[in-house]
């Protein structure tokens, strides 16, 4: 069988959470955390998933690692439908799909030594004997730039950046094929962020894993990604390669998101499109286009009909560019003022 170029295919993924309360814990409403997300991830590449809090990006990551069971939709990993797999098959996937979490303070067991934390994946998957495992752990520490003496110390003895290195070491212990990084640098200081981003880039170059990089900071995501999907209220509103997303964004939300990023250059002219209002609640998303309540370009149709993610009909040179906006083509033609970027 010909291997598909895609290691991961997500089709129409939905994850709804019930809101319960009152007498007998009745269902009072639903949070539409992820509501119809589809994308494919090519082997060895990195897809960046960006969006603001509550847009569902973390939920997507957790559905892929099977930490959440999707409400509907399919997740196909390496040609296998995740919903149909149990037992040994699932264990194999769990070994190949690993996750790096945002908070390196909460995702490491404080009572275990670093050596124990890093040895655990090998024990669970019954790999090697004690001596081999110990050697593997010290190799791991070396790969993520920690001293071998770290093995016998506890997580609290390390700084945030070092702890994230431990988290990354654990995630790459079993040589995963797919690494899901959920906001891996947002809890870290600026000077440490770049160290961790470099480490992730180096490791990917060495081992060639595929990466789903979830973060809210578009500048960070763009730096490590090949492709970018912008999410808003549980849906992808724009998908294209990481250069096109900031050179020629089409969706009004993407444009606003880019123009809202404070540029570390006081001489940069900002053509800021400040969005009015707040993110609507994902438990009560607006009818029609979900962005219409904040969109400066909305027309009647946007309030009624939800736009679907369509290939953008523009002259731009991007080979793949999808956008969910009724007026994308028209707005692109109007050559709206783009923010000046350094």
């Amino acid at each position: 069988m010909q291997k598909s170029p895609f290691i991961l295919e997500v089709k129409d993924l939905k994850k709804h959470f019930p809101i319960r309360g009152g007498l007998f814990f009745r269902r009072k409403g639903t949070v539409f955390a992820v509501d119809g997300v589809s994308f494919s991830l090519r082997r060895g590449e990195t897809l960046g998933l960006v969006g603001e809090s509550g847009c569902g990006k973390t939920t997507v990551g957790r559905c892929i690692t099977w930490l959440y069971k999707p409400t509907s939709g399919t997740i196909t990993y390496d040609g296998i439908d995740m919903a149909a797999i149990h037992g040994a098959g699932l264990r194999k996937i769990r070994k190949e799909v690993q996750m790096v979490f945002q908070d390196p303070f909460e995702s490491l067991n404080p009572r275990h030594t670093v050596g124990h934390i890093l040895e655990e994946p090998f024990i669970i998957h019954r790999i090697g004997n004690a001596q081999q495992r110990r050697r593997a752990v010290s190799r791991l520490l070396d790969r993520v730039g920690l001293p071998g003496s770290a093995m016998d110390r506890f997580p609290h003895e390390f700084s945030g950046g070092q702890r994230q290195r431990i988290g990354i070491a654990r995630a790459i212990a079993l040589s995963p094929k797919l690494l899901i990084c959920d906001e891996p640098v947002s809890a870290l200081d600026v000077s440490i962020q770049s160290q961790i981003l470099n480490l992730l880039l180096d490791l990917q170059r060495e081992s060639g894993f595929t990466c789903l990089f979830i973060a809210h900071d578009l500048a960070v995501v763009r730096h490590v990604s090949d492709w970018i999907a912008v999410m808003y209220l549980g849906q992808i509103v724009e998908y294209t390669d990481a250069d096109t997303i900031y050179k020629a964004p089409l969706h009004p939300y993407t444009k606003a998101l880019i123009s809202a990023i404070p540029i570390p250059d006081p001489t940069a002219a900002t053509h800021r499109q400040v969005l009015s209002g707040d993110l609507p609640s994902p438990s009560d998303p607006p009818q029609g286009c979900r962005f219409h309540t904040r969109c400066p370009f909305k027309v009647k149709m946007c309030e009624k009909t939800a736009p679907s993610l369509q290939p953008a009909d523009t002259a731009s040179s991007a080979p793949v560019h999808q956008v969910a906006c009724h007026r994308a083509a028209e707005l692109a033609q109007r050559q709206d003022k783009q923010p000046n970027l350094p």
Binding site: V190, S194, L218, H223, Y246, I263, P264, D265
Partner: protein, 336 residues
Amino acid sequence: MTGTDNRNTDGNTPLLAIRDLVVSFATDEGQRIRAIDGVCLDVKPGEILGIVGESGCGKSVTALSVMRLLPKPAGRIESGRIIFDNIDLAKLAPNRMRAYRGSRISMIFQEPMTALNPVHTVGRQLVEAVLLHKKNIGKKEAMSIAVEMLEMVGIPEPGRRMGEYPHQLSGGMRQRIMIAMALSCGPDLLIADEPTTALDVTVQAQILELIKRMQAGTGMSVIMITHDLGVIAETSSRVCVMYAGRIVETADVKTLFSSPAHPYTRGLLASIPRLGTRRKTRLPVIPGVVPSLSDLPPGCRFQNRCDRVMDICRSVPPEPTVVGTGHTAACHAIGM
């Protein structure tokens, strides 16, 4: 407004002058560590001064010292002066500090949910603030001032919002309420401690615009504390860069970004990923980590991470050296 008459209008006299401020904290082991050690800075009337640095560098401690809100009994001002309007706030009796805090110097915090009282309505908290500092007005008048303030910070339907509780509002709204409350008494100085760190980027843009608009409208001074150099570039006119309890560089914002002098500032500016940089390439980094405040090396505090470290850096702490007009940096390598 309180304090309007004796407001500093002379552009050269600083509104706030901090000199050689040393603040220490007690650790669990019974030692005292210096969270800030010899901080000197000026805030001129009508300017936005940015203080930038990473966690633990002492930027918030500096702000809390000015407000005299250091956690007690752990935090203590050891020495130094905080001169505000010819008064040394560092030595002011707590009851006299109340005449300044909230009315002439206000502060907004990173997480508005923890700064607002969850069991009182927004209106009640705003009215309380107004009544506390303006003695000769009635409750009705205070109410109308509060509604006016909410309108000014861009809250839709301010009358209705007055009756709502903080949890009913979004993060951006809460921060607007905090700003309304902080500005209700017309302060001369607003200290904003990471005011947008907890907010989404599109809401952050709104709040930064609001702070800039309010500053321009009232002519107050603002201290903008942040870890985000982007926020600094967009809001501040002058910047202090802090590292491990000391100010390492001070300059006007354009100079700082175009010709940073201190190796730390340079490293920091180089290491941030920007939208224009080449993708998937290694970013320049500052190696290593910030030294622990309880175990500082003698000499320069940046020595273990500096690419220009010399012998003198390991023994003598560098003093601020003039680099250009209004531009100082504490580094031995300057002028060499």
